[in-house]
């Protein structure tokens, strides 16, 4: 599936705004992403496996919060910085 990367994380993806990753769940996709772009996962997911407070993840147009969320191969995954800066 295609994963859309926000500007703040593109230092991990060689400045690419879209990368490909595979997995049956959000957790698996993030694990694959971290293997290809080391360090990326910890910037958006805590050591307690919680999505960080100012990060939002959308599958297609639906926000998801659980890493166990199931994904399909044609889904679009969007990692977004929350509009929390004022």
């Amino acid at each position: 599936m295609t994963v859309h990367i926000p500007s703040a994380l593109r230092s991990y993806t060689g400045q690419k705004s879209e990368v490909e990753a595979e997995g049956r769940t959000l957790a698996e996709v993030l694990s694959v992403l971290d293997g290809r772009h080391p360090g990326l996962r910890f910037r958006i997911v805590t050591e307690q496996d919680q999505i960080r407070p100012h990060i939002r993840i959308f599958v297609n147009e639906t926000q998801v919060q659980a890493l166990e969320t199931r994904l399909g191969p044609d889904d679009q995954l969007y990692i977004v910085l929350a509009l929390s800066g004022g």
Binding site: A8, L9, P38, G39, F42, R43, I44, V45, T46, E47, Q48, D49, Q50, R52, H54, I55, L81, A82, S84, G85
Partner: protein
């Protein structure tokens, strides 16, 4: 206690090139001085926009730098350079708390606040303190980090740490990690809040060191949770002596005593003895500097009366001398955070501080006079002096 002794040098280092490693709310900067410490050159920002709490050079190799970083949105990390800051790489496993068992609430590192290189005989070993309070150790030069379960997961320590609402406005912090230069297993650290603690077995077991420390009026000093050390330092010239700037005064501790003495009582009453930094002379254990701030009413955290000044004692706290030559005489409403004031190893000793208003000030004569080296930086969180 038995210790393997590595004598601290008593000889002043030559006035080499001093570099100031500056962490700010919006990135890091390196301010490089010439050999006379008269001319300074400011680097472009490093990691512009990142919150940099601490930037530290490893004195054991003179080239490895660790930088504690976070941003407004992303989780915390550490960047590492092995070429004195020319290039940087993110570490593989930054400090993180242990995963909580299923059904229990685990803690999350908000930011790495403090970095301490370990003993000279332990190359590659570093300690880190975090917000919320956590103690971590790396044995590979900062590339990977492991938590101290003896602190981070201990029920008593967790109780003393309190919740994230019990600490400083920017989050409760573990700081002032100190390694005895005579013994790598002899450690100290402090928590805001949560007191001062000591280990003589490399961190397997700990004892508290809060005797003699005051707490906010109305609270019980016997409760370690109510103690708020701001900055604790161990004298390079006498490792049996520590000084402390606390939320409630300035203190000295001469081991083996475990009772702190409030030497801030000797400060001028109109200035008081509240502040953040504590700076020690590199050789003379009787000389220390503080930078008082207004801790009255709602804690404005600015220079008292808008008139910034350092205070120095030359006799271990019996008397204090105001040092304000060169600073603004009025309407300077800034202060200096706990990691943002330091000394070099030169003779005469150089002092450096970074302000909450983004200025860097220096003294080449032990604080007798001060010069502004840089203005208009972001809010300064830390300043470390390193020899390049």
């Amino acid at each position: 206690m038995a210790r393997s002794v590595t004598p601290a040098t008593k000889r002043p280092r030559a006035a080499g090139s001093v570099g100031l490693l500056i962490g700010t709310r919006k990135g890091a900067f390196i301010l490089r001085g010439d050999r006379s410490r008269r001319t300074w050159t400011l680097s472009p920002p490093l990691f512009l926009g990142h919150v940099i709490h601490h930037l530290v050079l490893d004195p054991r190799d003179g080239r490895t730098l660790l930088m504690a970083a976070s941003t407004g949105h992303l989780g915390p990390t550490i960047y590492r350079s092995t070429d004195r800051g020319k290039s940087w790489k993110e570490v593989a496993a930054p400090p993180a708390f242990s995963k909580a068992p299923e059904g229990q609430q685990g803690r999350t590192v908000g930011h790495v606040f403090w970095l301490t290189p370990a003993h000279a005989n332990e190359p590659g070993v570093w300690y880190a303190g975090t917000s919320p309070q956590g103690l971590f150790r790396s044995e590979d030069g900062g590339v990977t980090w492991k938590p101290f379960s003896s602190i981070n997961d201990d029920p008593q320590y967790r109780a003393w740490m309190g919740s994230v609402q019990d600490g400083t406005p920017d989050g409760p912090k573990l700081h002032s990690i100190i390694v005895d230069p005579r013994d790598p297993a002899h450690l100290y650290f402090a928590m805001s809040g949560g007191g001062v603690h000591e280990s003589v077995d490399g961190g397997r077991t700990w004892t508290t060191l809060v005797q003699g420390l005051d707490v906010v009026e109305g609270f019980d000093p016997a409760n370690v949770a109510f103690h708020d050390p701001h900055c604790v330092r161990l004298c390079p010239g006498n490792p049996d002596r520590l000084y402390q700037q606390n939320h409630c005064g300035i203190y000295r501790l001469d081991r083996p005593s475990d009772r702190w003495v409030r030497i801030g009582r000797n400060m001028p009453k109109q200035v008081g003895d509240i502040g953040f930094p504590m700076v020690l002379h590199p050789r003379d254990p009787d000389q220390v500097w503080v930078f008082p701030m207004d801790g009255g009413t709602v804690w404005p955290r600015v220079s008292p009366g808008g008139k910034p000044a350092a205070y120095v004692t030359h006799n271990a706290g019996k008397t204090w001398v105001r040092q304000d030559k060169g600073f603004p005489r009025s309407n300077a409403w800034w202060t200096v955070k706990r990691q943002a004031m330091t000394a070099d190893g030169c003779d005469p000793v150089g002092l450096y501080l970074g302000t909450t208003s983004g200025e860097v000030w220096a003294s080449r004569n032990g604080g007798a006079s001060w010069t502004c080296l840089a203005r208009h930086l972001p809010e300064i969180y830390s300043v470390e002096a390193a020899e390049f």
